[in-house]
Symmetry: C2
Subunit: 189 residues, 2 copies
């Protein structure tokens, strides 16, 4: 029963991410993780370090899986299509129902003083990535003539980043409305 790793690390990380995502850092106990992963206490500590390190690894997975797909949706220079793709992603995950309703990043920001310093700065940076991706997309759109030359790309990016933050945990039906309005209002800009 020992000598070599008895578990798939990525599966374990996925289980940990779900727990942290759903219950938050403070609300998650090591025993919660033991139950969710099927591993024993000591194995968890041996593999990852301490609770903060476990959270960091789970957070990175969260960013890679959830966040990265959002950034990818904002490719291209057509703002209407890009925003539609972004909202479609949100809608899909809202309909799935499988995932928790909160946002791990917002929880991470609240408790970042209890994390290693590099993770804290990394978290802050990640929180701004969506705005940057939106900004870059809007600038491409303006250069391509799909957006008025006078459009304030920075302000638009900040605005739609706020919308994206605000829809986390929203039910599918209201989310459809929000997506429709979000795209429709863009036409005016």
């Amino acid at each position: 029963m020992a000598g070599t790793r008895q578990f798939d690390e990525s599966q374990v990380l996925d289980a940990m991410m779900r727990v942290f995502w759903e219950k938050g850092f403070e609300g998650t106990s090591i025993d919660d993780l033991v139950r969710a992963t099927g591993l024993q206490r000591g194995s968890l500590y041996n593999a990852f370090g301490d609770k903060a390190a476990m959270f960091c690894r789970a957070l990175r997975l969260y960013q890679d899986e959830v966040h990265a797909s959002h950034l990818h949706a904002l490719r291209g220079d057509d703002p209407r299509e890009a925003l539609t793709r972004l909202f479609q992603l949100k809608l899909k995950s809202a309909r799935d129902g499988g995932q928790p309703q909160g946002c791990m990043l917002s929880d991470a920001r609240r408790i970042c003083h209890r994390l290693p310093t590099n993770a804290a700065t990394e978290t802050k940076a990640a929180a701004g990535e969506l705005e940057e991706a939106l900004f870059a997309m809007f600038e491409r759109a303006r250069a391509a003539g799909r957006l008025a030359a006078t459009a304030d790309c920075r302000a638009l990016a900040r605005f739609y980043a706020a919308v994206a933050r605000g829809v986390t945990g929203t039910d599918p039906e209201p989310l459809e409305d929000i997506a429709r309005i979000g795209v429709a209002l863009l036409e005016a800009a």
Copy 2:
């Protein structure tokens, strides 16, 4: 040193609200509240009940102070003015710096299963109040001819409620941009 209340309940509630607001329900210990209020453990329990009850009282204060002012901003039938007032409130509290950056309601929703059932439903209801206030305001605006007759008030309300949720914790400068865009885009609807 006893026999009659030695403290001002509203002051104590205000202190408790700040702690819960900043650290969240799970992240707040009774000792935190003891330190913040200056009261002793037993006095807190004698006055309020248990931790969940303390949180409920603090949450109600939060709703009355913070939430109610937002609802009040949405009076009248001029959507541009109403939204401007709403954003101005957010901007003011962002500049104050005195208040924590998170949203107590979102924390409350996460841990509502640990609260008395009535508080849980009350919390869910409160979370929808802003949307309802926006909806009513947009309907008044449409009736007054300040909004296109074809405007989807429900969808607009849901959209701006998402924006309002999304700006919590945002710095003043980006918030100004968001407010400007939010009002400007409305003109198009």
